[in-house]
Amino acid sequence: MQEQDILNQYQSVSEDNVKEWFKVGVVEDFPENSGACIKYKTKQIAVYNFVRTGKWYATQNLCPHKMEMVLSLGMIGDKDGVPKVACPMHKKNFSLEDGSNLGGEDLKIATYPVKIKKGNVYIGFSD
């Protein structure tokens, strides 16, 4: 796949336009206060489990900076209250709420809704 095609397959999905809630495992499969990666069709999605707030987030695994499949390996936390992931490669920070770059750069990652039901973890896709 060409670089552009790889990038283009990641488009943010909001709860309203979810076509499929895809089950990616049970809560225990996902490390606490960390990221982990799942596969959906040809996509790699990073899933983050914030135990302290009980919140879950999902984004593309691809860091748009150098096109590396690494975001699930990054450290998570918050900046001024906004939940974020720091890419392990060059520590660029991305908001897990809207995928924007918190350093103000013109880099953006796609975000996906996560749903927890009866101990199962689902991610919403529109394709």
Binding site: C37, K66, E68, M69, G74, G77, A86, P88
Partner: protein, 839 residues
């Protein structure tokens, strides 16, 4: 309403617009801007960054919407072809006509392409616009393709820009060659000696330099295949970037009969007016004081003057003297020249410092009375450039003994410069964003900023090239201090304590884990700064391995391996002291072969295996651990290696058994977590083959024992270790080392190595000797006991991990599938492999 037409939407044309909209009287004017290029003005100074990410948007000075918001009409892809001065009209390529009241010519310049036979061939490029770079990239890909042999490319011109181009050519995968007509590099900025030092440094970076070469001919049919200098003097290159200077784009001035310079450029006065008072010229097209200034800062000043003249502030004039100081960027070597770099003896005298072994050259030119810094050159280390530049620009006082400027003040804690607060308020600290010292200080004293982050957000200082960052940090700290505000070193937004305070808090309160620390002493949910810092603190209190609190480890520690460019990992088993048996070599070889890993001898006397996928790590380590290897902690902020030389065991000069001692020391401190990585060395005599003085701690065998050196490092800011104690026996050396390391681990900030730690330690090396050798704080025994406790608790974390199925779970790419990462691609390289580069 008056109509101002700006011709040219480059850096200076844009700056004109920006300065215009800042004026309150701008409502009386309408501005129309024409740009020949397809996109709005972009940052040409940082053009080379386009190679990194091909992101044109990132270079934009302002997006199109900005012009709209400010009522500026921006028309791109449209060139102005004619000016009709009598009717005050201009004509565009599309034959449209516009009437102006004031016309501003900001048409910049074009690369000068010498008239060499064959220069029109395919594969010859200039370096000015984004399109030039796109063409070059496309061509480079076509030419290099899958070829295994090296392909050469040349840059014509060894000036500032030529060297930048050479770096770009190298990054594209070519073997770079710089061809310069003059007998030295950067002939306009550097003296001969400095230039020589620069040349050696550049060559050491793999860039070939050819001086005093006049190119006769570009060889090849349609496509360039080489360059010819003399009959038998040729070089086979398949691409050429011409960077031989610039020529102002003054066509418009010629056709409408404005006064022109003999060698081109539109003549302007100190109001930026051309010979027609309603037509202004600014930037690289303007000939001011008989000069074209090929730098952006004078262009910005010109824009400011033109704006003021048009708007009616007619007393704002262009300065008489133009500052041509420059700092070379990007290429991986510090080069700067400021003020008057070469100086005739009648004006003053020069102080020159040169150290060829370090590619270091510094020259400062001082007035005869010793009071003024007139200019200078810095090569190899330009960290003082900002300060020198400010001293030069503002005529600030210099030390009585002017040599202190370049060789540093003797004695303790002396800065040769005085305080940054002595700089006048009007001094420009950040030239990219035109932020003055006054702007920075006022943002704190009046603007409500409370820390560096606030100041950057408010003033935009440091957001350009970043070169002014050290000075901005100093200014912010000093201003805060002068206001009686405590400049508190805090870890990050989640903990308002420094590392040492947190270390004490965790220890005294017996805090169990990161979450408890956050609950007790922090706020929010943590980040990539405080998590690893606390991980390190926990490890140095209890010797816990990264396997316990996995979520707070930096990515490398989490996977017990260094992440590589393509998301694979490296494997580095410990080879204490660099001593390895043939059988161990065979095992490493077999493992590398089985898992197809790229294998290399490291700079730390051991072997690194690259390209392992995450799920392979435990399999590889299982084999290595079974064969008796342990983790080398190459990923951790922890002890790395203790290098050795063969010493008295084999060497005819050896005084003691340096290998044995190196192995003992490495095994003693293996796994020890610290604020930054720790490295040691042990040499068998003063010939110092183990480079012990380039390490955080080093031992050199002398008559009667070991000399102990501390606080050295290689890396980004090399420092030689300092002699700490002499003629020690083995036990005393270990005792001092225990104390020294433990004291450092307790008190240093996160990611501060021993050398910068010592620099900030009040009292310096003498104080350190008192604490460690004379036990002035009465903590020596405690430090030793603590270290012994850590040493006793050492456990190989890889062994720990592979033996525990729960811990093994993290070594998997996908949670929901056993597939591996299908994005990984490798290409062959010299009988091994390497990650495939992205297109």
């Amino acid at each position: 309403m008056k109509h101002v037409i700006v011709v040219g939407n480059g850096m200076v044309g844009y700056k004109f617009c920006e300065k215009f909209v800042e004026q309150s009287k701008n409502k009386e004017f309408k501005i129309t801007v024409f740009g020949e290029e397809p996109r709005p003005a972009y940052d040409r100074v940082h053009l080379s960054e386009f190679f990194e990410n091909q992101d044109a948007k990132a270079l934009e000075m302002a997006p199109r919407e900005w012009y709209e918001e400010h009522g500026i009409e921006l028309i791109t892809s449209e060139r102005i072809t004619d000016i009709h001065r009598s009717s005050k009209k201009i004509t565009t390529t599309k034959d449209l006509h516009y009437k102006y009241d004031y016309l501003v010519l900001a048409t910049g310049s074009a690369p000068f392409v010498p008239n060499i036979s064959g220069i029109e061939k395919k594969g010859v490029f200039v370096y000015r616009t984004i399109e030039d770079l796109e063409d070059m990239l496309g061509y480079a890909k076509e030419v290099i393709g899958d070829r295994k042999e090296t392909v050469k490319a040349a840059v014509l011109g060894g000036g500032l820009l030529g060297l930048e181009a050479a770096k770009a050519v190298k990054d594209m995968g070519f073997e770079p060659h710089v061809v310069e007509f003059a007998p030295k590099l950067m002939p306009r900025q550097l003296d001969t000696r400095g230039s020589k030092v620069l040349q050696e440094k550049i060559e050491s970076l793999g860039i070939n330099v050819h001086l005093s070469k006049a190119t006769n001919k570009i060889l090849g049919d349609d496509v360039i295949t080489g360059m010819e200098f003399g009959e038998y003097d040729k070089i086979d290159v398949e691409m050429l970037v011409v960077s031989a200077g610039i020529r102002p784009r003054d066509e418009l001035g010629k056709t409408c009969d404005l006064k022109m310079g003999v060698r081109g450029g539109i003549v302007v006065n100190n109001r930026m007016q051309t010979s027609d008072p309603e037509i202004f010229a600014i930037g690289e097209v303007a000939l001011y004081n008989n000069m074209i200034y090929g730098l952006v800062a004078p262009g910005y000043d010109m824009a400011e003057v033109a704006v003021n003249q048009i708007i009616g502030n007619t007393d704002v004039l262009m300065a008489e003297e133009i500052d041509m100081s420059t700092k070379l960027k990007l290429i991986g070597v510090d080069v700067a020249s400021f003020g008057e770099p070469f100086m005739p003896v009648e004006k003053g005298y020069s102080i020159i410092f040169e150290n060829k072994t370090k590619n270091l050259y510094k020259r400062v030119n001082i007035s005869h009375d010793g009071n003024l810094l007139l200019g200078g050159i810095l090569i190899g280390d330009a960290s003082d450039y900002n300060m020198f530049h400010q001293i030069y620009l503002n005529g600030l006082p210099i030390p009585e003994d002017a040599e202190e400027l370049i060789i540093g003040a003797r004695g303790e804690g002396g800065s040769s410069f005085g305080s940054v607060l002595d700089i006048p308020d009007a001094a420009q600290v950040c030239s990219c964003e035109s932020v003055t010292k006054g702007d920075i200080c006022c943002s704190i004293t009046e603007g409500g900023c409370e820390n560096l982050g606030d100041v950057i957000a408010k003033t935009k200082a440091t957001t350009g090239c970043g070169g002014c960052k050290p000075m901005v940090v100093d200014l912010v700290n000093e201003t805060l201090k002068s206001q009686g505000k405590e400049v508190k070193e805090v870890l990050c937004e989640h903990f308002s304590f420094n590392r040492q305070e947190l270390y004490d808090l965790v220890k005294v309160n017996k805090v169990a884990d990161y979450d408890e620390a956050l609950n007790l002493f922090g706020e929010g949910h943590g980040c990539e700064i405080c998590k690893p810092a606390l991980a390190s603190i926990f490890a140095t209190i209890t010797m816990e391995t990264p396997n316990r609190q996995v979520a707070i480890q930096d990515t490398n520690d989490k996977y017990l391996a260094n992440i590589q460019r393509n998301g694979t990992y490296s494997v580095v088993p410990r080879v204490a002291g660099g001593e390895i048996t043939p059988d161990q070599l065979i095992i490493i070889g077999e493992v590398a072969k089985k898992y197809d890993l790229y294998t290399k001898i490291t700079g730390g006397q051991r072997i690194d295996l690259f390209g392992a996928q995450i799920h392979e790590l435990p399999l590889i380590w299982k084999e290595l651990v079974d064969a008796g290897f342990e983790s080398g902690h190459a990923y951790g902020k922890s002890l790395r290696t203790v290098k050795s030389c063969v010493g008295s065991t084999w060497c005819r000069y050896g005084m003691h058994e340096s290998v044995t001692f190196a192995i003992d020391i490495e095994n003693r401190y293996r796994g020890l977590r610290s604020p930054h990585k720790l490295k040691g060395g042990v040499s068998g005599c003063i010939r110092e083959c183990a480079e012990a003085r380039g390490k955080d701690f080093g031992l050199i065998a002398v008559e009667g024992g070991w000399n102990l050196y501390v606080c050295g490092n290689g890396g980004a800011t090399p420092k030689h270790a300092i002699l700490f104690a002499e003629q020690l026996d083995d036990e005393t050396a270990i005792k001092y080392l225990d104390r020294f390391l433990m004291f450092y681990i307790r008190t240093a900030g996160p990611l501060v190595r021993t050398a910068p730690w010592l620099e900030k330690l009040d009292g310096g090396i003498e104080y350190l000797k008192k604490v460690i050798i004379e036990d002035s704080l009465g903590i020596a025994e405690e430090l030793e006991t603590e270290m012994q406790g850590l040493v006793n608790k050492y456990e190989c974390e890889w062994k720990q991990a592979i033996e525990d199925p729960e811990m093994m779970k993290r070594f998997k790419h996908f949670v929901n599938s056993d597939d591996t990462d299908d994005n990984l691609a490798f290409v062959p390289m010299r009988d091994q492999k390497m990650p495939k580069a992205w297109n």
